[in-house]
């Protein structure tokens, strides 16, 4: 990334005027090269040429520009929230364009500047946006080579593009990309698939390039969404109901209204305020007295009963078919597993700064879906999407928890009423209460195996938490995976890193362990006996080898467990070692995780993601749980909702398998799925106690 801030500023000044007509960009740059990627690739990602009924504007999925100073600007709707794609995508472009990494600027998630994009989720950036940007870069390189060939009257095939230059080895002449594009207005729309550089030949992609703008983060200079300030900006607060599904009975805001500079903004049950400073805003909010009625609601105690009673029934005939196969099996097992609601708790809570100017709305906000938020704003204020601009500065994480735009809408409501820009940052309690949760779920598995350890039949049901990762990767003659939706779950629920794959892997890999013990087989041997997928076998074997699986038997003081799986193109296996103290408390001492997701784009970023997924996975495995009753969250703070901290972190060893012969898959999510079952299986190996409910610390005391 250019360290040259002036250059960045110039680019962004020019871009401010660069909206629909992309030729403007070239006019303003005084020339250059602009390459757009046409619809085909974009349509592939979104299915039928649209997403959620949203047509793809101009059918363009990404574009890049090269100016006369050879600076490259890449425009994508993907956003950076710590998963390191600002760096890894720039590496891919640098690779195909044959330019130094530092000559690339990524413009991300600004709805006025970048092509429409569904959002950053589902581990889609690396497998879809990566190749799209690479195709564009390869096409741009080809154009540059052809332009140079024309000048030199040489055959393009005899020229070499390298390090931001085209060189003619015959004449010894060379031209920088900037010199080639100087004064030119080259625009090209690319479709189809230009030849991409194979991973074994990568020189920039595939290397551990450090985080692009890392220095801005260690100095505090980077501006997150909650850091954005605008001239004359006010600070907002929203009055929250006393519980979910509450109705407002009465409200008295007279004391708050009298505070200096405070303006109360009311619209039905929406009550908010603005104040000249954050402190006064908080004081004013506390001075509003409101009465609400909250209807009786499900709590933790009756959560799983509720889910089971309200689940859609599913396909009885398919289950009967599996039951028949199980009936003839030597060993039969039916077990139920549960996961509680958990929160994403991103360290930067939801935040938005909204500004109205001449009927046009601009919002800076932390979201994984800038275009989704733009749509929410457009429908909330009944203005066209072209009147709304959403900007997403690299944010303080999301983990699937920032798909929605409620904070942006609230800030915009306040700003509209106040006639001034407004910053709204949710409190930690609001983030824990009014965001959404990873869904709780009940999983039931019925299985049968023959005495020699061959799986015969398998049925896995998931109530409420989701279908992702429900299909077993093991070889089973008769199998079934069924998701049972609950139409009105007790809490607002949504996406989360790896989604239900964590719950479904917890159930499956725990159940596999149970079967292995019932069959008197080693848990790894049992898995491998029923597994032919070479990629999954490879991660199991790598993790086991590094861990020293099978070399030391578990004892009552020390247990070893293994688990693994595949989802979203990533393959993972984890081995865990737990220690049981004299007080019967459990500590996770060591986790060895092997990971494979095709060709590695950035091994350092990938290692970081994998390690982070293990640490985050520990929380849900051991102690994270939303407690709720009567429509209220009972632990909406970091004191009562325990997240993994330094002391909870075991020794972690990450093994990365680099498959340069396979396309790169996304790696932000699936690394989380094997942790919980590996720990649970290790606890069983030591204690003989089988834990089937996440978080497991509820059933077994765990030291803090």
């Amino acid at each position: 990334m250019p360290v040259d801030e002036l250059a960045l500023q110039q680019v962004s000044d020019k871009l401010r005027w660069f909206t629909l007509d992309r030729r403007d960009f070239l006019r303003l740059c005084g020339g250059g090269l602009l390459v757009c990627l046409a619809g085909d690739a974009a349509a592939q990602e979104s299915g039928r040429g649209g997403w959620g009924g949203h047509p793809l504007p101009q059918q363009i999925s990404a574009w890049l520009a090269i100016d006369e100073r050879s600076q490259v600007t890449v425009f994508t709707g993907k956003v950076e929230s710590g998963q390191n794609i600002r760096t890894s995508l720039a590496q891919s472009v640098a690779e195909e364009l044959r330019v130094p990494f530092h000559s690339i600027t990524m413009v991300m998630g600004d709805t006025d500047l970048v092509p429409w994009d569904a959002g950053t989720f589902g581990s889609r950036t690396t497998p879809t946006m990566g190749p799209q940007l690479r195709s564009m870069a390869a096409a741009a390189r080809q154009l540059l080579v052809e332009a140079a060939a024309q000048r030199w009257k040489a055959a393009p095939a005899t020229l070499i593009a390298t390090n931001g230059k085209v060189t003619n080895p015959g004449s010894g002449l060379s031209l920088t990309y900037g010199e080639i594009t100087h004064g030119e207005k080259l625009t090209q729309t690319v479709s189809g698939d230009p030849a991409l550089t194979p991973a074994p030949d990568w020189k920039i992609a595939g290397t551990p390039v450090p985080k692009a703008n890392g220095r801005d983060f260690v100095t505090g200079r980077h501006q997150y969404p909650s850091d954005i300030a605008r001239p004359g900006m006010l600070y907002g607060k929203i009055l929250r109901p006393s519980g979910f599904r509450a109705a407002l009975v009465s409200v008295d805001a007279t004391a708050a209204e009298k505070m200096p500079g405070v303006q109360i903004i009311r619209d039905g049950d929406f009550i908010g305020l603005v104040a000249p400073d954050e402190w006064t805003a908080g004081q004013a909010l506390a001075a509003i007295h409101a009465k609400w009625t909250v209807p009786p609601q499900t709590s933790n105690q009756d959560l799983f009963d509720f889910l089971q009673k309200n689940a859609e029934p599913g396909d009885a005939a398919a289950q009967a078919n599996v039951d028949q196969a199980i009936a003839s099996a030597d060993v039969k097992l039916t077990q139920q597993y549960t996961v509680q609601y958990i929160a994403h708790a991103p360290l930067e809570p939801r935040a938005a700064v909204a500004e109205w100017y001449g009927g046009r709305l601009t919002v800076w906000t932390g979201t994984q879906r800038p275009f989704g938020v733009r749509q929410e704003l457009s429908s909330a204020f009944r203005i066209s999407e072209s009147q709304v601009r959403v900007l997403m500065p690299d944010m303080g994480s999301g983990y699937g928890g920032k798909h929605s735009g409620e904070c942006a809408v609230e800030a915009a409501r306040l700003a509209k009423a106040a006639g001034k820009p407004v910053r709204l940052v949710w409190t930690r309690e609001e983030e824990f209460t009014w965001a959404y949760f990873r869904p709780a779920g009940v999983m039931e598995i019925r299985s049968g195996a023959s005495r020699d350890g061959t799986l015969v039949a398998w049925a896995q049901h998931n109530i409420n938490s989701g279908p992702s990762g429900i299909d077993t990767p093991y070889n089973v003659a008769t199998k079934l995976g069924q998701f049972h939706e609950v139409s009105e779950p007790p809490l607002r629920q949504g996406s989360y890193r790896a989604l239900a794959a964590t719950a479904n892997h917890f159930a499956r890999e725990t159940h596999m362990d149970e079967l292995a013990h019932a069959l008197n087989m080693d848990p790894l041997e049992f898995r491998l006996k029923n597994l032919t997928d070479p990629r999954l076998r490879a991660v199991f074997q790598s993790a086991a080898q590094q861990f020293g699986w099978g070399k030391t038997p578990s004892t009552p003081q020390r247990g070893f467990g293994i688990a693994g799986g595949t989802e979203k193109g990533g393959y993972v296996a984890a081995c865990a070692e737990v220690e049981i103290g004299p007080d019967k408390k459990v500590r996770v001492r060591r986790v060895v995780q092997a990971w494979e997701s095709g060709a590695i784009v950035n091994p350092d970023g990938l290692r970081n993601q994998t390690m982070g997924a293990i640490v985050q996975g520990l929380g849900g495995a051991l102690f994270e749980q939303i407690r709720f009753a009567s429509g209220q969250i009972l632990n909406p703070d970091f004191g009562d909702y325990r997240v993994p901290r330094f002391r909870d972190t075991p020794q972690i060893e990450v093994i990365l398998l680099d498959r340069k012969d396979l396309p790169s898959a996304g790696a932000g999510e699936t690394g989380i799925v094997a942790v919980a079952p590996a720990i649970g299986n290790a606890i069983f190996a030591a204690t003989g106690t089988r834990l089937r409910a996440m978080p497991m610390a509820v059933a077994a005391p765990i030291v803090s």
């Binding site: 929230s81 710590g82 998963q83 390191n84 450090p210 985080k211 890392g214 220095r215 983060f217 260690v218 100095t219 505090g220 200079r221 980077h222 501006q223 997150y224 909650s226 850091d227 300030a229 600070y235 400073d277 954050e278 402190w279 006064t280 004081q283 708790a345 991103p346 360290l347 930067e348 809570p349 690299d394 944010m395 303080g396 994480s397 983990y399 940052v425 409190t427 930690r428 350092d604 970081n608 993601q609 390690m611 982070g612 997924a613 293990i614 640490v615 985050q616 703070d637 970091f638 004191g639 997240v643 993994p644 901290r645 330094f646 002391r647 972190t649 972690i652």
Partner: protein, 164 residues
Amino acid sequence: MADFTLLVNGAPYRVQAAPEEPLLTVLRNRLQLTGTKFGCGEGECGACTVLLSGKAARSCITTVSSAAGSEIITIEGIERHGQLSPVQQAFLEEGAFQCAYCTTGMIVAATSLLQDHPHPTDEQILTAMDGNICRCGTYPRILAAIHRASAIMAQKKGADHARG
């Protein structure tokens, strides 16, 4: 509202604020020092850590009136004359962040730790840093960065000593 003089990163600032207003919002909103982050407002996460008279303190639960008169160092004051501090340099070299929202608080807390314990043990690091949350889970890298910072500081001290 009252007038306070705050000594921040070596310079005096006159601010008008309610005496009970947290130092955090004064720094962020009134002095535009946004490197100090809001994470919880309850002293539970460490994102808002600053140095108060040389010691790590949670600026979200420190009132502006109690901070007046003390020397306050924020992340913006850790970097000197465009030169990263050893802790900043170590975090960068270890890649000890993902979203990096916790990073400035981590760096300030680690700076305080290394002043007290120039060669900290793992146990001393865990004790000093357990109140700082990284939701991305980069703890092992932060631990490595703190050890690296300790080594950089020792090296610098050795070099300074050699220069006499």
